[in-house]
């Protein structure tokens, strides 16, 4: 009896679980049986692996091969188990020594010709393997850089099954026509992180909207959600697109999380460099709910909300989105993560993003106000904006109404509009101040601090909330609104370098909460 054991990783959301692959060669009808909850792509592995092994010049055992994937209760999806299964069969057939695969994690899809293909989700998989104590991973060459983002793991990059098997036999380069497998050298082969693109968008280009620029800065500093209401051409989209330019680069832990999500979604740029700049996602308003929050039968894929983790989710023409799509965002806005349940598995995706909503004031989108040509009735306008449900708007901390600009305002502002890097410096300083204050807590940004904790540990200056409390008594704001106003007040204080928010800061925050005009 010949039994071999190799290891791979199954992914549920962005969480990896180590899977044991057992290959057993026994007497019986010639063929291969795959057991342990495989999905369709995995069941097809049977035929892929047979062709790959034969076309690599190895022998296909003329016995009954049983391949088991355990834990058997975990549904296994995808094609990246190919490599672990193929190597397992070769070990069971004594074509590869058994001690060579000890402590090695295999992750890769095989082509029929024996080529090793790159797959999605390498970073979370290698992360899980490292957590379980694996010190060596064998992946397809294009995936090597991504796998090497996990520290203290030896990454072996192979381009074919032959190369992988030769490396395990201790004879790399045995076959002259095959590129031998190599140990990935982090210092030499790691692609550089992409720097800022010259000529990219800059905040200084948004002329005339000083108040909106300030609101953007506050949202960047505190991680608050923003809504922009204004006629076409006022600069809503321009403003939103420039929010990432004033956000600081991602911290290492966040960058690994973001890269993992994009790896599972298959949206990483080629080469597998770490994502260090905050992502910006602008889904079209016809996007389905699954496209926004994630989903899908079979493999659960992250949606735009998760892809925007630690970045910006921009919903242009927000009232045009389907109502249930918008409301599905309420859970991640509150908890910073999305939980998707399917039969047998529950996937969790992180989704802590800054939401930016943009909307026209009415369907006709003509200039509102005394001199404007808006032809909509008040009822139509109310109905249009009511599509953004109250519960969703209640979670938006900063609401800004943009007015159309004349030539004078544009020219006047030219000397005052600050470039992105100046604003980014202030944002970084404010974030530092908040992080210092919040050190020892699980939170980093003002927007993340729970209300109860905020009122207990960090109340504003005495008497600073006088006007805000009057608004609460009048029913203008809710209790949740009060908490949000205090949070934004703290951010304004952080930006100004004040030790705690005073009356000015709280009044400004109230104005931003209620929605001010310019």
């Amino acid at each position: 009896m010949a039994l071999a054991r190799t290891y791979s990783v199954a992914l549920v959301g962005v969480t990896g679980h180590v899977v044991e692959v057992e290959a057993d060669i026994a007497n019986g009808l010639v063929g291969m049986i795959l057991v342990g909850l495989p999905d369709t792509a995995l069941r097809e592995a049977r035929d892929r692996i047979r062709s790959a092994i034969l076309n690599s010049g190895e022998a296909w055992p003329q016995r009954r091969i049983t391949v088991g994937l355990s834990p058997a209760s975990l549904p296994k999806r995808g094609s990246w188990f190919d490599l672990a299964i193929a190597i397992g069969v070769l070990v069971a057939d004594k074509a590869v020594p058994a001690d060579a695969v000890d402590g090695v994690m295999f992750f890769g899809e095989l082509g029929l010709d024996g080529r090793l293909r790159p797959v999605r989700g390498v970073l979370p998989a290698v992360n899980a393997a490292a957590r379980e104590g694996f010190r060596t991973v064998l992946v397809a060459a294009p995936n090597a850089a991504e796998a090497a983002l996990v520290p203290h793991v030896t990454v072996i990059a192979a381009s074919s099954l032959t190369a992988a098997a030769d490396w395990l036999r201790g004879t790399p380069g045995l076959h002259h026509n095959v590129t031998p497998a190599v140990v990935f050298d982090r210092d030499k082969d790691q692609p550089p992180a992409p720097g800022p693109v010259p000529g990219g968008p800059d905040l200084a280009e948004v002329l005339g909207q000083a108040m909106a620029r300030k609101g953007l800065e506050i949202c960047a500093a505190g991680g608050h959600h923003l809504s922009l209401l204004g006629p076409p051409g006022a600069g809503k989209t321009m403003l939103a697109e420039r929010l990432p330019t004033i956000l600081p680069p991602l911290a290492t832990a966040d960058a690994l999380d973001v890269t993992s999500i994009h790896s599972v979604a298959g949206t990483l740029p080629d080469g597998g460099a770490l994502v260090t700049s905050p992502p910006f996602l602008a889904p079209h308003h016809t996007a389905s709910r699954a496209a926004i929050v994630g989903g899908g039968t079979g493999t659960i894929r992250p949606g735009a909300a998760s892809l925007a983790h630690r970045g910006v989710l921009f919903l242009d023409e927000a009232p045009e989105f389907a109502r249930d799509t918008l409301d599905a965002l309420r859970q991640p806005l509150e908890s910073g993560q999305i939980t998707l349940a399917r039969s047998g598995i529950t996937a969790r995706f992180p989704a802590r993003f800054t939401l930016v909503l943009a909307a026209n004031p009415c369907p006709c989108a003509k200039t509102a106000g005394p001199s404007g040509g808006c032809t909509c009735s008040p009822a139509t306008r109310r109905r249009y904006l009511a599509r953004l449900s109250g519960p969703l708007l209640d979670r938006v901390d900063v609401k800004i109404e943009l007015l159309p600009l004349g030539r004078k305002e544009l020219l006047n502002d030219k000397g005052y509009a600050e470039p992105s890097h100046t604003v980014a410096t202030r944002v970084a300083a404010a974030r530092d101040r908040a992080a210092t204050r919040l050190s020892g807590t699980p939170w980093q940004l003002n927007a993340e601090v729970p209300g109860a904790e905020l009122r207990r540990s960090w109340p504003p200056a005495p008497g600073a909330l006088a006007i805000v409390e009057r608004a609460l008594e009048r029913g203008q704001i809710t209790a949740r609104g009060l908490t949000k106003i205090i949070r934004v007040g703290w951010t304004i204080a952080d930006l100004d370098g004040k030790p705690r928010p005073g009356r000015d800061e709280c009044d400004s925050a109230l104005g931003l909460w209620l929605g001010v005009t310019r």
Binding site: N27, L29, Q62, R63, R64
Partner: protein, 120 residues
């Protein structure tokens, strides 16, 4: 009646399989036994075990190995044939086994022989 090339190959392969099984210590009881259900290539006894043996001969492995050519349907039929043979001859055995002998013709009368015991 003239035999076609593939039938000649099969005939010679079966003879080679019989020689091989006899040298492996099996006693041959019957060859090419036919009934309504089909045909048994070789009927033999291995010590106390009744063996029904299917012989597959190939001139090369371009269309798959001979052992791969025996599937579940063929296996089921062989089991039925084993019962049919025992009933037709009125004998009983404690154990019944199905074997497959795969032969690949290597030229000049030589064969590569693989013998799978007890596949079902």
């Amino acid at each position: 009646m003239t035999l076609r090339a593939k039938d000649v190959l099969g005939k010679n392969g079966e003879q080679a399989a019989v020689d091989y099984l006899e040298s492996a210590g099996l006693r041959i009881l019957d060859r090419n036994w036919r009934c309504a259900t089909g045909e048994i290539d070789i009927v033999a006894v291995d010590r106390q075990v009744f063996v029904v043996c299917e012989v597959k001969t190939r001139s090369g492995t371009r269309y798959g190995t001979p052992l791969e050519a025996v599937g579940r349907a063929k296996l089921r039929r062989l089991r039925k044939l084993a019962v049919a043979w025992l009933n037709a001859h009125g004998v009983r055995f404690e154990q019944v086994r199905v074997d497959i002998v795969g032969l690949v013709y290597e030229g000049t009368g030589g064969y590569t022989i693989e013998h799978l015991r007890g596949v079902g």
